[in-house]
Amino acid sequence: MAGRNLRITLGPVPYLWDGEAWRDFYFRIADCAWIDAVTLGEVVCSKRLHFTQPFIDAVANRLADAGKEVALASMAMVTLEREAMLTRKLVEASPWPVEANDLSALGLLSGRPHLIGPFVNVYNGATARMLASRGATRICLGPELPLASVTEIIGAASGADFEVFAFGRLPLAISARCAHARAKGNSKDNCQFVCQDDPDGLAVDTLDGQSFLTLNGVQTMSHTCQVLLAELPALQQAGVSHIRLSPQHCDMADVAEVFAAVRDGRIDAAEGEARLRAIYPDVPFSNGFHHGTTGAAWIPAATEQVPA
């Protein structure tokens, strides 16, 4: 069955989880045979770092011992001197490969092997080629890109692997202002870590009751959960080598198993979707970006071609 070459990666937990819960989540991931690589670390908000910092070495070692490729992610937005220092320290001292998520990490990593995360804007093959020549070995493309762009980029750039965001709420925006804290009557500087109360984000609905967005600290995510299952053959055909699952507050080992089962042809995409709906209920799926339309849209898999 085609598709075996697609490797499954797990992106960083976007939400603020209790430190021990975060550790235990990864320990379970270490035992999940379907996940090939894991990128760890706090990407969204530097104020959260102390929650996971005490556990990160143990988690990284456990994952590596289980045979996973481990990488550490840099933060998506670096504005304060403290954040700039942390990024520099990560680049200088990380025992694991670093995934760059902003231009400062990208610059500092130049000339050594590293990964590119979805928060660095790679919209064309020329950019991907340049990043590869500077040491990028794997590039996770931003979720906004349609398949047409993914195909063009991979076709134009050699020397790096390409990863596509295949499961999870979409990271849509990041701000200096914390809407999550604001929603609970706090400011960012005195946020009291209220985002920890919402381990799967805080729902934002329209005034007419339409489910729309999800707050995650300073990050705004989609309400929908991106699911690219029926699209796996097309992604592989385009040259994608890795698919990224972004942790939600559900059993991600089970999610990985579903993706592996569809990839390996043990179940079809429809059954995979049905199983995902049971694992991660109450959240509508979307795949619109991949199909070049509104990100929130769900385009059902094309019905089987009926021979003429």
Partner: protein
């Protein structure tokens, strides 16, 4: 400090020059710039004539090529850069790394400005762009306080330009897919945010409802000041509370911090608003030009009137003040 002014049409360009701009920025009529709106922007001929009008009055022209090159269609952006250079643009404002590389290699003497859309928000990021592409100036994202900017300026090897007045992006620029999530069209790719093609206004009793891509963005009472139907300035329900989740309909005004920005070493102040009419451009440019020469005590009176032209008829200093976060 230089005053950098927007122009969506040749008429607005002339108004900006006549009202006291040091430089005017504009874009071509296509997706190579982030104000790719119907009926807006410049043909090659219009840009040539405008540049000539500016040069004759000692005013510079910057050409915004500040979207990300669509994979497979890079020629459109390269050609736009070639043409802008040929037509005599004083600077190109660029966001895409590969387009910066192209310009620095193909037109090494062309002055390169890094767009706000590149999202370089710290010294390491900025110096990376300066060293790699020879960027001469960087437009800072609206995520830093005035104090942050003052701390940053001595550490970077290029000029800094900051947004001083006009539309306010609540989200970090160049990293926002809210528009395409609802409409399929984004600032980074198509050069539009909350595009008119997907906007609908309807009356519901006394209220005016604005919708984007079928999502309700706001409901305005009978005489309530309105704003653009952008997602980040909509009213939403969070838990059971209705309100502005991210920001009110409001525009940016940091003229109160003019002296601090000057002391911080900021080279240029930018006015947002290529999508606005020439009357707005003339009014804002002339008021800000006067404010630059005025004493701090005189400034509020000069600027108060501008609030009436602003989104929601209100202004904020946004991220430039720490309390905004």
């Amino acid at each position: 400090m230089e005053l950098i002014c927007p122009a969506g049409t040749p008429a607005a360009y002339r108004e900006a020059v006549d009202a006291g701009a040091d430089a005017v920025y504009c874009g071509f009529r296509d997706e190579t710039n982030a104000r790719n709106f119907p009926g807006l922007n410049f043909t090659r001929e219009e840009l040539a004539a405008s540049i000539a009008y500016g040069k004759a009055r000692n005013v510079q022209t910057y050409v915004a090529l500040n979207t990300f090159m669509r994979a497979g269609a890079e020629r459109l952006w390269y050609k736009a850069a070639d043409d802008a250079v040929l037509l005599g643009a004083d600077a190109l404002i660029v966001a895409d790394l590969a387009l910066m590389a192209y310009i620095s290699e193909t037109h090494p003497r062309q002055r390169l400005h890094v767009s706000v859309q590149a999202s370089a928000s710290n010294a390491d990021a900025i110096n990376f762009l300066v060293q790699t592409f020879g960027a001469k100036r960087l437009v800072l994202p609206r995520v830093l306080t005035v104090a942050d900017i003052a701390a940053l300026a001595p550490k970077v090897a290029c000029e800094l330009e900051v947004f001083a007045f006009g539309g306010l992006c609540v989200m970090a620029e160049g990293r926002c897919s809210l528009s395409s999530y609802a409409t399929g069209l984004s600032p980074n790719m198509q050069g539009v945010c909350s595009p008119a093609s997907h906007v609908r206004y309807r009356e519901d009793g006394e209220e005016m409802v604005s919708e984007l891509g079928g999502y309700t963005i706001n409901r305005f009472g009978a005489d309530e000041p309105a704003g653009y139907p952008t997602l980040c300035k909509g009213r939403f329900h969070i838990a059971d509370d209705g309100g502005y989740a991210f920001e009110d309909p409001v525009s940016l005004d940091v003229m109160e911090h003019l002296d601090a920005l000057r002391a911080a070493g900021v080279t240029a102040l930018k006015i947002e608003g290529r999508q606005r009419g020439k009357a707005y451009v003339a009014e804002v440019v002339s008021r800000l030009r006067q404010a630059l020469a005025a004493t701090p005590e005189q400034r509020p009176a000069l600027l108060a009137h501008l609030r009436r032209l602003s989104e929601g008829q209100r202004t904020t200093a946004g991220a430039y003040e720490k309390k905004w976060r």
